[in-house]
């Protein structure tokens, strides 16, 4: 892969990214892809900070994701 992949949680607030893949157990993966985090999907990091959970906007709606899960989603930054 040409672009460097990173964890979703490491994105800065306001940055946009593209989902590469979701790691983790079947249940969580299924849930995340059902919520629209399929590979190739664009999203924007809306909110992070001292909070554990992050808020992203994806497919026209907002999702809150716990940091444990957010660390298991591989993404690349969209320039």
């Amino acid at each position: 892969m040409s672009e460097k992949s990173m964890k979703l949680i490491d994105l800065k607030q306001g940055q946009k990214g593209i989902i590469i893949s979701v790691l983790g157990g079947r249940g969580v993966t299924q849930r995340l892809i059902d919520m629209g985090l399929t590979p190739g999907t664009e999203f924007k990091m809306l909110r992070k900070g001292r909070l554990c959970a992050v808020e992203i906007s994806v497919r026209g709606s907002k999702l809150a994701i716990g940091c444990g899960v957010a660390a298991k989603i591989l993404v690349k930054v969209k320039e």
Partner: protein, 637 residues
């Protein structure tokens, strides 16, 4: 009279229950799905010469096996075969909603799309080409503004038309490669006769759905090998695992349809976005949260106190009337016990629990509670829960019974158990009246407040222990945060009513029965011997007066009875004359922790079974006495 069954299905927070309420009005019945702790709402509608049964399915995002709700929904549609499925779709969030729509279509029932929140669409400067959408999906699309009742009639009209058989099965195809495998697999399944359509089975098998796989294995194990072959092919072709491939394909279709049908106006920063930003802010968000929660409690308990005093005053007048008619003999005293139980129930529901749940419902429906869940996620993780558990926890401050039932929003059994356990430690409205009436009034508000802080610390510690002791991985927060909106008053009051109904059905009979039993103890002078039996605990270990024993027993029926019993057995309502400040604090502390009242125990049994319910109850009694004794020794140092 002809009968039709309609199922309402859709994502969470799309206005499904508003539509349900509009359709059924007062003809509703809320129960559980057989053998499951998932709510089942059913209602009836009479339309020309049709009796229409309406089932409100749980709000879900997919038909996989992620949760009980998803399984129940797909089983219901496939097995019970409702005449029509109305898929409620949030017009402002078409893509995500269509993902679910596509899965519903695969179940093959006649379907209508209720395109809801059309009013918000205009506000957001979005427009949707309904004709186009209809053509894409191949099913009728009815624009609806549920909160204003617009489009509801059209929905019923369409549903009746479809139920008569005027329905053509739509055909939505996946991408070329995947579609080829689906069609081939569907052919291999043509001898399989199950409740589900073959195409649905084929897609689910390709996805790797365990439940469906089990079902097929029982009928024809050879098919699994064929499935494996097809699934490998699509995995190879797309380079992702099978479930991801299918989901991606589905989202691709949803995206294409949405793109083609939706035209966006100039986007502007919305007020709701700004509100979202500030209420989830790392600093301001917490300020606002604390402010709103404190305000909520302040309003409820000042208002509640005021109203409750009036209510108690007027209802207690009933006593003299009662005694005029029935005299003051033993039989009359016992009968009064029943009336008193009823009155007590009313004086806690009307002034405290009802307003609490209405205001909380407003916050919930507006979208604010999910912001609090987001803010509290980190804290809740320390006790092995995620942010959403905050919602039943805060419900617990009203009454523990609906709060326990509210723990159903947790995804796994393990989390439900932890959430229920900590919820029973939350001081409910009745406990608060005692704390305020005893410690707040005679020792000082600071001490009363400290009790709440101590309680939260205990919740935290015990929650953490439960989290460490119980086996299993914690699940994480994955939650849609819908935009802020004006709450719908009708939905909110109905929700509050259903929560209170839990209390009335479970708690009222028990409260009345216990009130009667306590009167029996009084009349037969048994209470004195019970007090004496409890002496080692109450007097020696807790440093409380002898008559507090019966008050603690009375509290099992309902916590506010502890105060009333103290007054009758201490023969005064001036508690300063019979209790020292330390005794008041110790008494309140024990009362706050020692047992979920009998109604809560009943709710526990209902939700988690006998064994766990008894364990929690016994544990909390022992724990409360232990903590009370320690507090007594610390305070008298």
């Amino acid at each position: 009279m002809k009968k039709i069954t309609i199922a309402l299905a859709g994502n969470a927070n799309v206005g499904k229950s508003v539509i349900f309420n509009r359709l059924t009005g007062l003809h509703q019945h809320i129960g559980n799905w057989p053998g499951k702790t998932v709510e089942r709402a059913e209602g009836t509608l009479f339309h020309s010469d049709y009796t229409i049964d309406i089932i409100d399915l749980p709000g879900i995002y997919s038909l996989s096996t992620f949760s009980m709700e998803e399984l129940i929904s797909r089983d219901y549609i496939a097995k019970e075969k409702p005449d029509v499925v109305i898929n409620v779709v949030d017009a402002t969030n078409l893509e995500r909603n269509l993902y679910f729509t596509l899965q519903l279509l695969e179940l093959g029932r006649p379907m209508i799309i209720a395109l809801n929140q059309m009013d918000l669409l205009k506000k957001k400067g979005i427009s949707i080409n309904i004709k186009k959408l209809q053509n894409f999906l191949g099913v009728p699309v009815v624009p609806v503004i549920a909160t204003q009742g617009k489009g509801i009639h059209d929905l019923v009209h369409e549903a009746v038309r479809l139920a008569k058989g005027e329905y053509e099965k739509p055909k939505i195809e996946y991408g070329k490669e995947v579609e080829k495998e689906i069609q081939m697999l569907t052919k291999s399944l043509n001898k399989i006769k199950l409740d589900y359509p073959q195409r649905f089975l084929a897609i689910k098998l390709l996805e790797g759905d365990e439940e469906i796989k089990k079902m097929i294995e029982e009928v024809d194990p050879n098919i699994i090998k064929i499935v494996e072959k097809h699934a490998k092919k699509i995995e190879c072709f797309h380079g992702h695992d099978r479930s991801t491939v299918i989901a991606s394909e589905r989202y691709k279709i949803a995206n294409e349809i949405a793109k083609d049908c939706v035209s966006l106006g100039p986007s502007r920063v919305k007020f709701s976005d700004k509100l979202d930003e500030i209420t989830t802010h790392g600093v301001w968000g917490y300020f606002i949260m604390i402010f709103s929660v404190v305000t909520l409690f302040f309003i409820i308990f000042t208002f509640g106190n005021f109203f409750s005093d009036i209510l108690v005053g007027s209802l207690m007048n009933v006593r003299s009337i009662f005694e005029q008619y029935f005299g003051t003999g033993i039989a009359s005293k016992l009968a009064w016990g029943i009336v008193e139980g009823l009155i007590a129930g009313i004086t806690i529901v009307l002034p405290y629990i009802l307003p609490f749940y209405v205001i909380l419902g407003l916050l919930e429906d507006s979208g604010y509670l999910s912001r609090i869940a987001f803010l509290m996620d980190r804290f809740m993780h320390k006790i092995g829960l995620h942010g959403k558990a905050f919602i039943p926890l805060i419900l617990g401050y009203g009454c523990n019974v609906p709060a326990c039932l509210g723990c159903r929003i947790m995804e796994t059994k393990r989390e439900r158990l932890i959430a229920i356990f900590v919820t029973t430690l939350i001081p409910c409205a009745a406990v608060t009246t005692v704390i305020l009436g005893l410690v707040g009034k005679y020792v000082g508000l600071i001490w009363a407040f400290s009790l709440y802080v101590i309680d939260l610390i205990i919740v935290f510690i015990l929650g953490r222990i439960a989290f460490k002791v119980l086996p299993g991985e914690p699940t994480e927060l994955i939650m849609e945060m819908h935009d802020y909106r004006m709450p719908d008053l009708k939905t909110v009051t109905k929700q509050a009513w259903f929560r209170i109904k839990d209390f009335i059905y479970i708690a009222f009979p028990l409260i009345i029965a216990c009130s009667f039993i306590i009167k029996v103890l009084d009349v037969t002078n048994l209470s004195e011997s019970i007090e004496n039996m409890m002496k080692p605990i109450t007097v020696d270990w807790l440093g409380l007066p002898v008559f507090s024993g019966i008050a603690l027993i009375a509290g099992i029926s309902r916590k506010e009875l502890t105060l009333i019993t103290l007054a009758t057995h201490g023969s005064t309502t001036n508690f300063a004359a019979i209790l020292t400040p330390v005794q008041m604090i110790v008494f309140s502390l024990v009362m706050m922790l020692y047992i979920p009242c009998v109604a809560t125990v009943a709710a526990l049994v209902k939700e988690i079974g006998w064994k766990k319910a008894i364990f929690i109850t016994v544990f909390e009694i022992v724990f409360a006495i232990f903590v009370g004794g320690i507090a007594f020794r610390l305070l008298t140092l």
